[in-house]
Each structure stands twice: as C-alpha cells, then as structure tokens.
C-alpha cells in the first residue's frame, strides 16, 4: 500500500456534483457533508468538502457515480485520442477455373456468399431454406469463418447486427415465418446504417402456412422492413445461377450503400437444381472506416440507431432517404424478353417468371405479341425500363404467387412515374401453388383477362 502522503485528496467540481451524497457515508472521517447552497450552474445542491481530517483513503472516489464529480487532486489524465480510421478497400483475386457445378438454388446462394467474401453466418433452420445453412456449416469451418446456429431468427439477425457493426460481411438464410421475426433487427440495421444480406426463401403463409413456394413476402420486403421509414434493396433471382450471382451482388450493394439487402427467392428456386457457373474471382473484403473493428483506428466509432434529438434523427433519416434516392437512380434492374414490340406485357419475377417466359414463347409462336418484363430488383422497382414500353402496350398481365403484392409494387411505381393508365390484369395463385404456363397463356389470350384461373 502506498503511504498516505503519496495519495491524492479529493477535489470537487461543484457543478458536476448532483448532491446524491453517496460519498458522505463512504468517508470514515466525516469530511463530506450535505450542502445547503444551490449551485447556480446545475441548479442542484452539491456536497461540501472539509479535508482537514482527510487521509486520502480514496474511498469517496469509488462512491461518486459521476465521472467528473469527486476526483483525485492534481490528476492529469493520460489521454490518447482515437486516430481517424482510413478505409481498407476490398480487393479481388482470381478463382481457379473449373467446370460449372450442378447444384440446387440454396447451395448456389451459399456459394455466392462464399465468393463474395462472407465468412460469418448466423441462422436458424427453417424449411425450405435450410440447405443453405447446412452448406455454410460445412464450408465455413474450413475457411476459418464463423457459423452460429442462433437460438432464434431474432438472435440471428442481431448477431448479424454485431458482425456488421464490426465491419464484416455476414448473412442469414431464412423463410417467411423466420423473415417476420427478423424484421425488428432489419429496422435496427437500417437505422444504424449496417450492411448485411438476408436471403428469404418465401413459402406459403400467413402463419405457419406451408412449405410450398410463394411470393407473399414481397410486401414485407419492399414496404415492411420493421418500423420506421425503412427500405432495402430487394433482389429477385429466377434461376440457380442468379441465386449465386445475386447473393454475391447483394454483399457489394449492402456495403456500397451501408444498408441491408434482401434476396427474395421462392421455395422452388431454393430446391431447384441447375447448372451454375462459378464467378472468375472472389472478393477479399476490406475494413470500412465506420466500423467497430476493435482497434485504435476504429475506437472513435459508434454504431447506433437512437437519435434522441428530433433534429438529429430527422437529419439521419434524410441521409437515409438520400441513399434511397441514389439506389433508385443506380440500381434498377430488369430482364426484358421480347418486349420491344409487345402488345401485352407479362410482369413476373422468381420462379413464376420462368413459367411466364415459356408462356410468352408459346404466345409468340401463336402470333400474339407478348413480352416478359421481369423485375430483378423489386425495390427499387425497375420503372425506367418499363415506361418506354407503355406507349404501345395494350395490357399488362401480372403473374405472381401472392395476392397482388407484385402488382401493388408495379402500380405504385407507375403512379410515381406519372405513367399513362394501362389496363392491368392478373394471374394469382396462392398457398404454395405457382401460376402455370397454361394459366398465363389463357390470361393473355382472354381479353379482359380472368382473375386467377383457380
């Protein structure tokens, strides 16, 4: 123990004392008493020190809850400012060439994540997405990555939140009921400006529904990512190859915009096996300057979605909306098949777009000028590619395995673009059933269109 003479006695900065008096009992020598005078700066009544009997025992410091309340006299804190972080950019490295793989959609998506530099996976098993998690569980230990089967989807998305805060590429695979549980976490990620990739392999709902393919989470992904004005890019693959390509793209987009990205697939696409070409290169992720990497350069960073001051939150949200504007400007993606001279446009995404593609082909063979407009980004809806087609289009037929959710995205986009009114008809199937080739053909040839053929 140091000699009493070496130890500092306390000093009090009165305006930082809230007068709680916890130090009064801590002092064995009764050096501290409750004050009587209101401090003009704090409007509180600080304690009063009389240090005549003080032995500099130091116990009062440990009883004061305020960092700058009671302090040791003459202590000059040794302070090192956090240096400004410099972003370490991503790099790419060529992958050895190989034969295309024949894999199911879930595996293709997992492969896409691996080549995009994702080494951290957090998930909870749910059919029909589980094979993706299984592959990550198999691969990641060999790549010194982390696979955690979380206690719930709620925990999984929050592990992603933590990994994203630390600046790494992380993801999860889930399906509709699990996606519902992740919405809270997605709202927090969006609020805190955190990137990450959620692959939702949609199944029949509402509730437990069934494990058949569905598209009934389009509304959630595009309009309902938890509370607040939250949006994220929504990518809709239609083939196993796109499961790989769009999952990989999702990571780049997530980090480019500091916002989560949702890859919205359907149950068939997750299970469908197809030929998949591997990319020619893989990504070695850098370290963003904004993250909490656990080192000196990143010590000054804070990741949070709370902005207590209203003007601060509004400013943060305006930044977010500016990002949304950038996304709308730069990231609209669509595939157009036989659209140039089309009189009837079929609008479809995911697996139903494959039926629609076949239907368009059959219709063309029968002399009907049909075209397929396939949004690849559902949010932002690729309206810029659509509006030039509307001058000659007589009708639009929306084909989807949900109750007008894709159609609502289309209608909103048309409305915002001030597009001329076009009759919109639909082929909708529900409950794990996809629209069929024949139903689409029938809907196109039947002017005035049927509701669903069901």
């Amino acid at each position: 123990m140091r000699a009493a003479t070496e130890r500092p006695k306390p000093v009090l900065v009165p305006q930082f004392c809230k007068g709680c008096g916890r130090c009064i009992d801590a002092c064995a020598h009764h050096c501290i008493t409750a004050g009587t005078d209101v401090n003009p700066a704090s409007a509180l009544i600080p304690v009063v020190l009389d240090l005549e009997r003080c032995t500099a025992c130091g116990l009062c410091f440990d009883a004061c809850p305020e960092p700058y309340g009671l302090q040791p006299d003459h202590e000059t804190p040794d302070r090192r400012r956090a240096p400004a972080a410099v972003p370490v950019p991503d790099t790419v490295a060529p992958l050895p060439e190989g034969e295309p793989l024949v894999v199911k959609g879930m595996y293709a998506s997992a492969l896409g994540a691996i080549v995009a530099g994702c080494r951290h996976f957090f998930g909870y098993p749910i059919t029909p997405s589980t094979e993706g998690s299984e592959l990550m569980a198999k691969f990641l230990p060999h790549l010194d990555g982390a696979f955690v089967q979380a206690v719930s989807e709620v925990a999984a998305i929050n592990m992603m939140y933590g990994a994203a805060a630390a600046g790494v590429r992380s993801m999860t695979f889930t399906s509709s009921p699990g996606f519902s549980l992740m919405l809270e976490g997605l709202s927090y990620m969006i609020g805190a400006r955190l990137p990450g990739v959620v692959v939702n392999v949609m199944r029949g709902g509402p509730g437990l529904g069934n494990i058949g393919p569905s598209q009934s989470d389009i509304k959630l992904a595009c309009r309902g990512l938890g509370h607040g004005d939250s949006h994220a890019i929504v990518l809709a693959p239609a083939t196993p190859q796109e499961m790989l390509d769009l999952t990989a793209l999702a990571f780049d987009l997530a980090f480019a915009y500091r916002n989560p990205v949702v890859v919205l697939a359907d149950g068939y696409l997750g299970q469908m096996t197809g030929k998949v070409a591997m990319p020619r290169q893989l990504t070695r992720p850098g370290v963003p300057d904004w993250c909490t990497a656990g080192d000196a350069a990143h010590r000054g960073n804070v990741i949070t979605s709370i902005f207590l001051n209203e003007t601060d939150l509004e400013a943060n949200n305006r930044e977010l909306f500016a990002t949304y504007d950038d996304i709308h400007h730069a990231e609209q993606r669509a595939e157009l098949v036989a659209c140039e001279d089309a009189d009837v446009l079929v609008v479809a995404c995911n697996t139903p777009a494959r039926m629609a593609k076949g239907a368009v082909s059959a219709l063309r063979a029968a002399g009907i000028k049909a075209g397929l407009f396939r949004p690849i980004t559902l949010w932002p809806f690729p309206i810029r590619a659509l509006t030039p087609l509307l001058d000659r289009v007589d009708r639009i037929v929306v084909v989807e395995a949900s109750h007008r959710q894709l159609e609502d995205e289309l209608r909103l986009a048309l409305s915002h673009a001030g597009a001329p009114p076009v009759p919109i008809e639909r082929v909708n199937r529900y409950g794990g059933i996809l629209p069929s080739h024949d139903e689409i053909v029938d809907a196109v040839v039947t002017i005035g269109g049927a509701e669903a053929a069901s």
Binding site: P94, K138, V154, R299
Partner: protein
Amino acid sequence: MNVFYERFARHAGGEGLKGQSTHYCPGCGHGLVHKYLAEAIDALGIQDRTVAISPVGCAVFLYYYLDVGNVQAAHGRAPAVALGQKLARPQSIVVSYQGDGDLASIGIAEILQAAQLGIPISVIFVNNAIYGMTGGQMAPTTLMGQKTATSPDGRVRTMGEPLRVAEMMAQLDGPVYVERVALFDNRQRVRAQKAIRKSLELQVDNRGFSLIEVLSECPLHLELTPAEAEHWVQQNMLPVYPLGVKKDVTETREPWPAWTTPSFDPEVVAGVIGRAPESVPRFCSGFPRGH
C-alpha cells in the same frame, strides 16, 4: 482515468454541463458501474480493443461516456450483438452491458445462448429490481410485495416470482465465471470493482464467458433518497439475491481455442467448394446413440 471521453460530445452536443455530466439521476448505480468499467479497461490497457454494447434502458447512452468502440443494441439483444462483434473481430474485448428488463425479460433467450456458447465476452448485468427508463414498472427482478407502476399494490404471486439470474447462469455449463456484487457500501464497491476487472481479464486471457450481476440503486423509482436506496438494497434485495461468486471454473476449464483469421485464399476456397455440395447429408443415417 482516461477511458471516459474528455467531453461527452454525444450528450446533447456536449454543450454546457452535459459535456462532463451524465444523464443519470442523482445516486443512480449505473454511474458507479460505468466508472468501474472504465477503470478496469484503463488498468488492463485494453481501451483500443474494447467494444461496449449498450442496451436499451437507462444505460442506452453508455456510448456517450466510454471512449471505446461503441455499438448500441436492440432491447434484449445485446448478447447476440456481442457475439456477432466478437466472432467478427475476436481480438476485440466485448462488454455486453444490460439492465434487468433488458437481460432478464425480453432478452432471456439471447443471454442463455450466449452463456451456453461460452465464447469469451463480458456481461455486466445491472439489477435494480425495476424498469428505470420507462418509468418504474415491474421488472422480472422486482421483489415480492414491491410496489411499482405496474404492480401498484405490490408484486404478488400472480405476477411471477423474482428471477435470480446469477444463480441461473451458474447452473449452466457454458460460463466460466459468475458473481453477484453490490454497490451499497465501501466493501461492496471494492468487490464490484474487482469482479468487473476479473470479468475483463478472463476475456483478455481468452478464458470464456463471464457474467457479473450488480445489485444497483434506482432512488428515483424507489422514491427514496440515495442513502435510503443503498439501505433498501441491503435490507431487501440481499435476502433474495445473495452476493458472492456463484460459479468459478477458471482454474479447471481449458481456455478458449486460439482465434484464427478467415481465409480468402482462392486455392483454399476452390478446394472447399470442390467438396461436392451435393454430398451434404440430407437425412440422418441412424438414431443418435447414447453416451
């Protein structure tokens, strides 16, 4: 003491008194816990490596004060966020700071999993037997008979029994160290300081998961003076929440394996991908055998 920001710039812009004064009510225990955390971080020389996960509740603004990497989590989810941070950057020293509503109610699943995984993180659990930030409602840790905004005539059996978190955690196999401490007198405060420091040391040494439950005072919602609140904790909380080390297997448990860095080597990746994705077993090959 250099682990507190020189000026609390995030506290209302750091203007005026708020630049060096906390948002806590007079006599609140959170300030003491913050201080002991700051001292331990300083003593261990881990300021640059430390990432503090702030909870929802009164301590949500931990990031106003501690000059470390800061991540703010959703209500109850701090342990999940802490695991994500730790797995992403294993060299970081991760402190998950939670109150009783946060950890013992909405976040009970997350803390159980984090504890059972046993990955080295430090959980500081502040138990003041009440929801502070939302205005003095009943917490899972509220004592029987205790009057709160949502148990106006006192907590009775139909509202559930107080949850003893430290004892529950000590029953689990995952944690290496669990201790309950308090703040109501000099002796308890010294023990609290030591426990918090030990929790961080265990993480620095890669020993495993530790949880320190701190019995704390909320004078405002107890409607007591700070001195009375200290007395209340001693008289009323201690019989339900006895202090002491609840679990310590630091001497007998193997340290956590050394952390490795993820591989982005194209040859390694190609080799892994070559492990024939279709060979992932889709069905179990038999019933699990007993031990």
